[in-house]
């Protein structure tokens, strides 16, 4: 068992509990299956990998353009590109003094570095690929296990899905902060796409880039609406939304792959649901790998997590670490 971001996540490598021998008659088998309590004991990745359904990858009208070079993951700025970067002490002290004197609302200011940088990086990382470079576990899940095409627009759909997952949590923050977080995140995603289309895909015409961005924006509005509908209604509605957007409406899409993705999305939302506003607002969330299983926690475990969070945040006493975000919900 791993204790990751306060939520118990169990790794399982066993085969799917519901898979059964074909020798059992369907009618009898259904009686047995109906008695089994729905337990998720497999990670989305292993569930999808088990499927032997022959499926053709989607035929694309045009061959996807491969990135000709690799630009900086976030930016060239040392604050974002150098994990060891530390601001000079006098600059830090001056900053703390300014925050204190002018009573700056740090929850609002934090939207830039947290949503516009850290959560943006989280969304971008999930489906990022470069030719001849190893894929991250999540990218492997999307491109190799779910057999999605490696293209810029597919990467956008994966980024968009993760943006939506985060935006569900951002909506639950106090309105003025949540809205600001969403705005910063979406602005950064589109700015990054604009830069990458020019730098990595070598699209020279600004008009073409702008048209692509408008298309992506339209796709985003449609996808967010469909995912919201799926979140509030049922799994099959969420599954059809994922099939249309992530699986590009592929008629050959594997039902077990779609199911695995629904489990992946619901698992992420569950982790976010158990995270307090303060932890989320300070950028403590990272997406759970599709190779891990999210197990629901008990009320007692939840209380324990909140207690630990309160202990941790009690140590945050600098003016820049001030926050009005809740530690109870």
């Amino acid at each position: 068992m791993l204790l990751r971001k306060g939520i118990s996540i169990y790794r399982y490598s066993c085969t799917r509990g519901l898979s059964s021998k074909s020798a059992i008659l369907m009618s009898k088998q259904n009686d047995i299956l109906n008695q089994i309590k729905h337990e998720v004991v497999e990670s989305p990745a292993s569930m999808a990998k088990e499927s032997k359904m022959p499926s053709k990858p989607l035929e694309l009208k045009t061959k996807p353009r491969k990135p000709s070079k690799k630009s900086a993951f976030k930016s060239d700025n040392k604050i974002e590109s150098d994990p060891e970067f530390k601001m000079a002490d006098w600059k830090q002290n001056l900053g703390q003094w300014i925050i204190k004197i002018f009573n700056i609302d740090m929850d609002r200011s934090r939207a830039g570095p947290v949503a516009g940088s850290q959560y943006f990086g989280e969304c971008k990382r999930q489906g990022l690929y470069y030719p001849n470079e190893p894929l991250s576990p999540t990218a492997r899940f999307f491109y190799e296990t779910l057999k999605l095409p490696m293209s810029f627009s597919q990467h956008f759909q994966i980024t968009l899905l993760h943006y939506w997952i985060l935006s569900v949590r951002m909506r639950a923050m106090p309105f003025k902060y949540g809205r600001n977080f969403q705005q910063k995140l979406v602005d950064r995603i589109f700015r990054d796409m604009e830069l990458r289309m020019a730098d990595e895909l070598n699209i020279k015409s600004n008009r073409i880039i702008e048209n692509h961005l408008k298309d992506f924006h339209t796709q985003m509005l449609g996808a967010v609406l469909s995912y919201d509908e799926g979140l509030m209604t049922d799994d099959i509605t969420l599954a059809t939304a994922l099939w249309r957007n992530v699986f590009n409406g592929n008629p050959d899409a594997d039902m077990r792959h779609i199911e695995a993705l629904v489990g992946y999305v619901r698992g992420q939302l569950y982790v976010l649901n158990k995270m307090t506003d303060r932890e989320f607002g300070f950028g403590k969330f990272t997406f759970v790998s599709p190779e891990e299983v999210v197990k629901p926690i008990t009320r007692k475990q939840e209380e324990e997590l909140k207690r630990r969070a309160k202990e941790e945040f009690a140590k945050y006493t600098l003016p820049s670490q001030k926050s009005v975000l809740s530690l109870d919900e």
Binding site: L18, S22, H38, S51, S226, D235, T240, R256, R266, Y270
Partner: protein, 113 residues
């Protein structure tokens, strides 16, 4: 492998697909129609009986809201305190209840909720 069991699995899958609710808005592709076409035609003739069965179970798990029930969300996310009416308004619009007025739309554009 008997042909009878295979036919039974396909029939069960088809009847489950037919029971899926109609989509509230028209999309570029309908999951229900595409899958009905797939399971009614030759596209699955080379698929093993066991795999068809697992596909059926996956579909049935989705229809039975396995993940929605397993990963239960609180009102914290479903009635977001920043904008408690957000999902209700979307769903009422999708259901065609036409509660939105020009005034409420303008208020959303100007104030975000």
């Amino acid at each position: 492998m008997s042909g009878g069991v295979r036919t039974e699995i396909i029939e069960k899958t088809l009847s489950l697909l037919k029971s899926l609710p109609k989509e509230r808005i028209k999309h570029y592709a309908s999951f229900k129609d595409v899958q009905l076409q797939k399971y009614s035609g030759d596209a699955i003739k080379n698929v093993s009986e066991k795999e068809l069965e697992l596909q059926y179970i996956a579909l049935r798990d989705l229809v039975n809201d396995k993940y929605k029930n397993y990963y239960k969300l609180d009102d914290k996310l479903l009635k977001p305190k920043g904008n408690p009416q957000y999902y209700d308004r979307i769903l009422s619009e999708l259901k065609g209840e036409k509660k939105e007025t020009f005034g409420s739309a303008m208020r959303t554009v100007l104030f975000g909720k």
